[in-house]
C-alpha cells in the first residue's frame, strides 16, 4: 500500500496548534524558520486538497504526490533548513520503507511498554528486560502530552479548516503525532535489540513478542524480518 506520510506531515506542520511542539517530533529550529515553513506547508496543503472538501476525497495519484514532494523539497531549500531537520522530515515521510508494518511496529512498542510496566509478564532473561528498561526512558518523550485537546480546541481558522478536512476524525493530526513518536520509538527499540542483544537473547525476545502478540490480537505477529 502506498503511503501518504507527506500529506499528513505537511498538514501537521501547517497547524497553528502544533507550532510550539515541533521539537517533540525531532525538528529543532528557530521560530522564524518555523513560521516560513508553516506558511509554505499551507500552500502545499492547498495543493493537496485542491477542490476537495475532505482529505479522503483528494487526488491520491502518484503524479499528485510527486508534485507535493517537489513543493516540499523546494520549500525546505527556500527556508534554508538545517540538514538534520531536513533529514528528520525526510525520515518521517519515508517511514513506509520499514520492513515491519505500522500496526506491528506499534504493537511491539506497546508490548514492550506493558512488559516494562509489569502489566504483562514474560519469562525472559532478566538481562533482556533490564537492558530494555535502561533505555526505555530515553526513547519516550511525547507520550504523556495531551495533543488531542490542543488540536480539538484550537480556535485558529486554519486549524478549523484542517479539522474540517477530516470531519469524522477531527483529531487525526494529534493521533498522527503519537504515530510519529511510536515509530521513532520502534526504530530505537529495533536498533537497540539488534546491536545490544546476543543472538540467543534476540531469539528469546522475538519469540516472546510473537506469543504475546498472538495472545493480544489473536493473529500471528507479522514479523517478517528477524532482529
Amino acid at each position: 500500500m502506498r503511503s501518504y506520510e507527506l500529506d499528513k506531515l505537511v498538514m501537521l506542520l501547517s497547524a497553528d496548534w502544533f507550532f510550539p511542539y515541533w521539537d517533540l517530533i525531532g525538528i529543532f529550529t528557530k521560530d522564524k524558520k518555523k513560521s516560513l515553513l508553516r506558511e509554505g506547508c499551507r500552500e502545499i496543503v492547498r495543493q493537496i486538497m485542491s477542490t476537495a472538501t475532505e482529505y479522503w476525497g483528494i487526488n491520491f495519484s502518484v503524479a499528485r504526490v510527486k508534485e507535493s514532494r517537489a513543493m516540499l523539497d523546494a520549500l525546505l531549500k527556500r527556508c534554508d533548513l538545517e540538514e538534520a531537520n531536513v533529514n528528520r522530515i525526510i525520515g518521517i515521510i519515508s517511514r513506509e520503507e520499514s520492513p515491519v508494518d505500522e500496526g506491528t511496529r506499534w504493537l511491539l512498542v506497546s508490548m514492550t511498554e506493558m512488559l516494562l510496566k509489569g502489566s504483562i509478564t514474560a519469562p525472559l532473561d532478566t538481562a533482556i528486560t533490564e537492558g530494555l528498561r535502561r533505555e526505555w526512558g530515553r526513547w519516550q518523550n511525547t507520550d504523556e502530552f495531551e495533543f488531542k485537546s490542543c488540536c480539538l480546541n484550537s480556535a485558529s481558522k486554519w486549524d478549523q479548516y484542517l479539522r474540517n478536512a477530516t470531519p469524522d476524525l477531527p483529531a487525526m493530526l494529534a493521533d498522527y503525532v503519537s504515530a510519529i513518536a511510536s515509530n521513532s520509538t520502534f526504530e530505537l527499540l529495533w536498533g537497540f535489540i539488534n546491536v545490544n542483544f546476543t543472538a540467543k537473547q534476540r531469539y528469546e525476545l522475538l519469540n516472546w513478542y510473537r506469543s504475546a502478540g498472538q495472545s493480544l490480537t489473536g493473529e500471528p505477529l507479522r514479523l517478517a524480518q528477524e532482529a
Partner: protein, 270 residues
C-alpha cells in the same frame, strides 16, 4: 425466572435484523454510523433497569447479557436457567420472554431451558448473563468481540447501552474510553467491510483519483481515500488503547486485532 411485565414496548418489532451487506454505503458517510441511534429511537426501561430500544430501522434490541434476535424472537445464546417442566415454553433456551416479546420482557435473558442451535460465539455473552442478577457487575469486563463485522456492531451497541443505563460501575474515565474504543472498533469494521465489498467498484473505476462519472456518493471518493480513512481510524484506536492500558481500563478483546490488522489492499474477489 420471573418475567418482567411492567414495561410496555412502545412499538412492536418491525423488521429483520439489519445486514451490513444489504445496502451499499456510498461515499464516506462520515457523519453516520450504523449503530448510532437516530432521533427516532424510542427508549424505555424495563424492570431490572435494563434498557430496550426500538430503533428507527425497526430493530428491537435488549441490552441484557444475552442477545435477542427480534426477527426470530429468540436469544442467540442459551438461557442458563433450567425452566419448569410444567411450562413447556419455559424449557426453551432461546425463547425471549416465553415467546411473547411484545407483552412481556425478560431483561436478564435468564428465562428458560433447552437448546437447539449452537452458537459458541455467544458463549461470552451467556457467561456474562450469569452476572445479570447483580446488574452492575454485568459484562463491563466481558464483551467478547468477534471478527464478524455485524456481530461487532451489535456488541458495540449493547456495550454502549449498558453504560448509558448506568449498569456498569467502572469509573467514568475508563467508561468513556471503552465506549470510544467500541465506537472506533465499530467504524473500522464497517470501513473494512466497505473495502472488501467495494459497492462503487472504486478499485477499478476510481483507484486513486475521484471519478466524476460514478453515481451519487461514489463520485467524490477513491479506493485509496477509503484506505486512508481506515488507517486514520486505526491510528486513533491505537492511541485509545494505549491510554486505556495505562489507566488500567479493561480493553475489549478484538480491539488489539482491529488496531493492527492490515487494511485490505483489494476488494474481496479481485
Amino acid at each position: 425466572m420471573q418475567l418482567a411485565s411492567n414495561s410496555v414496548l412502545s412499538q412492536p418489532p418491525l423488521a429483520a435484523m439489519p445486514q451490513l451487506s444489504e445496502k451499499p454505503r456510498l461515499g464516506f458517510a462520515t457523519k453516520k454510523t450504523a449503530w448510532n441511534p437516530g432521533p427516532n429511537v424510542c427508549n424505555f426501561t424495563v424492570t431490572l433497569g435494563l434498557q430496550v430500544v426500538v430503533s428507527e430501522n425497526g430493530v428491537r434490541e435488549t441490552y441484557s447479557a444475552r442477545y435477542y434476535n427480534p426477527l426470530t424472537g429468540r436469544f442467540l445464546s442459551r438461557d442458563p436457567e433450567d425452566g419448569s417442566k410444567r411450562d413447556p415454553k419455559s424449557l426453551h433456551k432461546y425463547l425471549y420472554a416465553g415467546g411473547e416479546p411484545v407483552n412481556a420482557t425478560d431483561p436478564s435473558g435468564r428465562a428458560e431451558l433447552v437448546a437447539t442451535a449452537e452458537l459458541d460465539f455467544w458463549q461470552a455473552v451467556k457467561d456474562a448473563a450469569l452476572a445479570t442478577a447483580t446488574a452492575a457487575a454485568i459484562s463491563c469486563a466481558y464483551f467478547k468481540v468477534s471478527s464478524a463485522v455485524h456481530l461487532m456492531v451489535q456488541y458495540s451497541q449493547s456495550f454502549n447501552q449498558l453504560f448509558s443505563t448506568g449498569l456498569c460501575s467502572y469509573g467514568s474515565e475508563c467508561e468513556q474510553l471503552v465506549k470510544d474504543i467500541y465506537r472506533y472498533m465499530n467504524t473500522i469494521s464497517q470501513r473494512i467491510d466497505d473495502l472488501l465489498i467495494d459497492w462503487c467498484d472504486l478499485y477499478n473505476k476510481a483507484y486513486d483519483v475521484p471519478n466524476p462519472s460514478l453515481p451519487g456518493g461514489c463520485a467524490g471518493t477513491t479506493w485509496v481515500g477509503h484506505q486512508q480513512q481506515v488507517l486514520g481510524w486505526q491510528q486513533g484506536l491505537r492511541n485509545l488503547l494505549k491510554e486505556a492500558e495505562r489507566k488500567g481500563c479493561l480493553i475489549p478483546p478484538g480491539a488489539w486485532d482491529l488496531a493492527t490488522r492490515p487494511i485490505p489492499s483489494q476488494p474481496r474477489g479481485n
